[in-house]
């Protein structure tokens, strides 16, 4: 039996900083430790500030999930004040949020995830020439088509929100700019162009056809567009048998609108879905360089352990729901919302393939949702209602970022922020071990991954880690 230890880093094509330590025996990973090696301290930064400053500062936690952070901060403030946004304002904000999530999925697929298939290590595979042509980092034809389409759909955020990332347009009362009838038709025409991109390049068929796939076998058999190329690669590399998660999926429910959330909230476990009991969330600090005890985020604090004690290995806290790890993300959302192919995949066990396929399903769904929302814009309506910050109160903002469940918990006293806690999607997925020694979801998913003798940065490990689309800048914040 040969044993060795590997330190994988810099781990790129994830957003932010990640280091993975692996124990390997006989060519397979036996234990993995995910370290988030960067701490900035956004939560302590907020203390003592005017509550509305959260709208300027928290989006800057993350340059890829900026609108998600805006939306969560805005929702937490609205919740503390006991108000809801003007319905059309909520719609415009949701439209911007949906575009960010859609862009993030395609950035992940083309730039972050599929680039690995163009590596020389796969030169003997039948699909390799196509992967090189499409997905070579910075050069591939799919890579370049993706960033051009992405830049164009972000014109909608430019129009409604001024710029992306780091817009200040999303406010508890609505949005700061009322779109006109002319804006509405421009938005619809930009979305029509994006549909052409998706149908010509990504799916090679109508988005409705992809969305109509009803089980895992139909998904795997999809053979057009870059989605089809991915399916061929995934089958050959057996990505469906790689990187199983905890089998428990959580979503806070995406896109809160006056008529309800566009995608359901829930906790999916053993084939059954139940409500998310958010009061059962605790952030465990046993293996994080953080001081204090496990706490619910409404009572949590963030005090870094400046001595970086040896028994800890990450700046990331370890959130647990009723004591258990959960996986969150696009696949989780589609399972909980009941897309039949996602539910079928979940029943067979999560995997690298399931996460990427779940994201593609959501790309198709989001395009259709965006078109529905844009058509529903009513230029003569109000887009902002009055809002005043409460002198005291607590608020919770729960949204779905591209990468999964995002929560902000704010505590306002004497008109200032007295407490601010954030749990980001990758905080859940890339959490370190808890006091019971239970590994976080990615740590567990890496156990059993092949790591050949001649690999010091094993490809299977890279596929598994990137399948989660981690956002490390959000993770610790």
């Amino acid at each position: 039996m040969t044993e060795r230890s590997l330190l994988v880093g810099p781990f790129n094509r994830v957003e932010g900083d990640l280091e993975i330590r692996l124990e390997v025996a006989d060519g397979h990973v036996t234990a993995a430790y995910a370290n988030s090696p960067m701490y900035r301290g956004f939560e302590p930064m907020m203390i003592g500030k005017d509550p509305m400053d959260a709208l300027t500062i928290t989006p800057r936690i993350c340059g890829i999930c900026s609108i998600s952070q805006s939306s969560a901060a805005s929702a937490a403030l609205a919740n503390a004040a006991g108000i809801s946004a003007a319905p059309q304002g909520a719609l415009a904000a949701t439209l911007m949020h949906g575009i960010e999530n859609l862009c993030d999925h395609l950035t992940h697929f083309n730039l972050f995830f599929c680039a690995d298939f163009a590596r020389p290590a796969y030169a003997n595979r039948a699909w390799h020439p196509a992967a090189v042509d499409r997905f070579t980092a910075m050069e591939g034809s799919a890579t370049r088509a993706c960033i051009e389409a992405r830049a164009e759909i972000l014109h909608i955020v430019g129009l409604l929100g001024g710029k992306w990332p780091h817009t200040l347009a999303i406010q508890p009362g609505g949005v700061t700019r009322a779109p006109t009838a002319r804006d509405r038709i421009r938005i619809l025409s930009t979305l029509a162009a994006f549909r052409r991109y998706l149908e010509k390049v990504v799916f090679g068929a109508p988005v409705e056809a992809f969305l109509a796939l009803s089980d895992a076998d139909q998904l795997a058999a999809w053979d057009t567009g870059d989605a089809g190329l991915f399916m061929r690669i995934a089958e050959d590399l057996e990505l469906g048998k790689m990187g199983a998660g905890p089998g428990r999926y959580m979503s806070f429910g995406a896109y809160p609108l006056p008529e309800g959330r566009a995608m359901k909230a829930g906790l999916w476990s053993d084939g059954a879905c139940s409500p998310v009991e958010t009061d059962q969330i605790r952030e465990d600090l046993s293996h994080a360089w953080m001081m204090g005890k496990a706490a619910h985020p409404s009572k949590g604090v963030t005090i870094p352990d400046e001595d970086m004690r040896d028994t800890a290995y990450s700046w990331c806290k370890a959130p647990r729901l009723a004591g258990q790890t959960v996986e969150t993300g696009a696949f989780a959302r589609q399972v909980i919302d009941g897309h039949p192919a996602a539910v079928d995949l979940a029943a067979r066990g999560s995997s690298v393939f399931a996460r990427v396929a779940g994201r593609l399903i959501e790309v198709a769904r989001t395009q259709i949702l965006l078109e529905t929302w844009a058509k529903a814009i009513t230029p003569e309506a109000r887009f902002m209602d009055d809002f005043s910050t409460p002198q005291s109160g607590q608020g919770t903002g729960l949204v779905e970022a591209a990468r999964g469940a995002l929560g902000h918990w704010i505590d306002i006293r004497n008109g200032k922020i007295a407490g601010y806690q954030i749990i980001a999607p990758t905080t859940w997925n890339f959490s370190p071990r808890d006091a019971n020694g239970t590994p976080g979801p990615v740590e567990a998913a890496l156990e059993g991954a092949p790591a050949a003798e001649d690999e010091d940065t094993p490809l299977a490990v890279q596929h598994i880690v990137r399948s989660f689309d981690p956002c490390m800048v959000c993770t610790v914040h």
Binding site: L7, V8, G9, P10, F11, N12, R13, E15, G16, D17, E19, N35, P37, M38, Y39, R40, G41, P44, M45, I47, K49, M52, D53, L55, T56, I57, C62, G63, I64, T107, F112, A115, A118, M138, I147, R150, A151, E152, L154, H155, V157, G158, L159, G161, G162, K163, W164, P165, H166, T167, A169, V175, R177, A178, P304, E306, P379, F383, M384, Q462
Partner: protein
Amino acid sequence: MNVLWLQSAGCGGCTMSLLCAEAPGVFDLLEGAGIKMLWHPALSVESGSEVRRLLDDIETGQIALDVLCIEGSILMGPKGTGKFQMLSGTGRSMLDWVTSLAPLAHNVVAVGTCATYGGVTSSGGNPAGAIGVQYDGHQRGGALPSDFRAQSGLPVINVAGCPTHPDWVTETLMLLASDALDAGSLDKLGRPLFYAENLVHHACPKNEFYEYKASAEKLSQMGCMMEHLGCVGTQAVGDCNIRGWNGGGSCTRAGYPCINCTAPEFEEPNHPFTQTPKFAGIPVGLPSDMPKAWFMALASLSKAATPKRLAENAVADRVEVTPQIRSGKK
């Protein structure tokens, strides 16, 4: 010209913004200008040991480094160790890497306000000890000393902005690649003048409201946001309203104030971002280069002369009164 891009302590948003470059897209643009990424943490294929070998080759001089781009602030904490950000897989802090690699580079470019001056990462008591590459807020001297010069003789080039406009970054790199950027191309804070010689106020669609001091009282109203809503576009450098963002947007075009994100210490304005601090009912901050007495005199005069159309539209969320059409000559 080769470029090594490191992401230090920031949000990655300047890279995400860079990907919004258009006509052509960023990869075509850089390729066309002969600019090659040696490595970029979000865009390159190399990971783990492949990157460590590249960094070793640069550090030992086997690969000449033309441009070192640093995106994000440099963390000095805890206790001056820099260990709040370790460059993963290397056992060394980002602070250590930056101070080691910068002197080897022909030019060093700080991308974004975190990298230039500390930025939002240094907000709220600066819990992680964030500073800029060559500045700590307004103070010269950051992770690199105030007298640092890259191999070219230039100080760190400060492409400030939160985030940076994609063109600010690509045009800086393209000017460097064509040897067309020298010390005279930078302002006193190291920012390229091609965008820092303008004010955000220039081409702001609210300019007519500004002229007559027809002010918005709440966010979402169309009037000028200087008097009540914290807008400092008349003092902030940037061609945001000339160039436009994401197809032609800007902060003020979307109805929220300019918060001067290209400036040192914008993250701590000493008042809520969307409220204008006032003394005796008069805004404290004045437009750049404007004598106070003249501003006061002109403001009161123009306020008295505000046309009805502007007064009404200023507090509406859309145009309520359209410009008067003069009847033609008979």
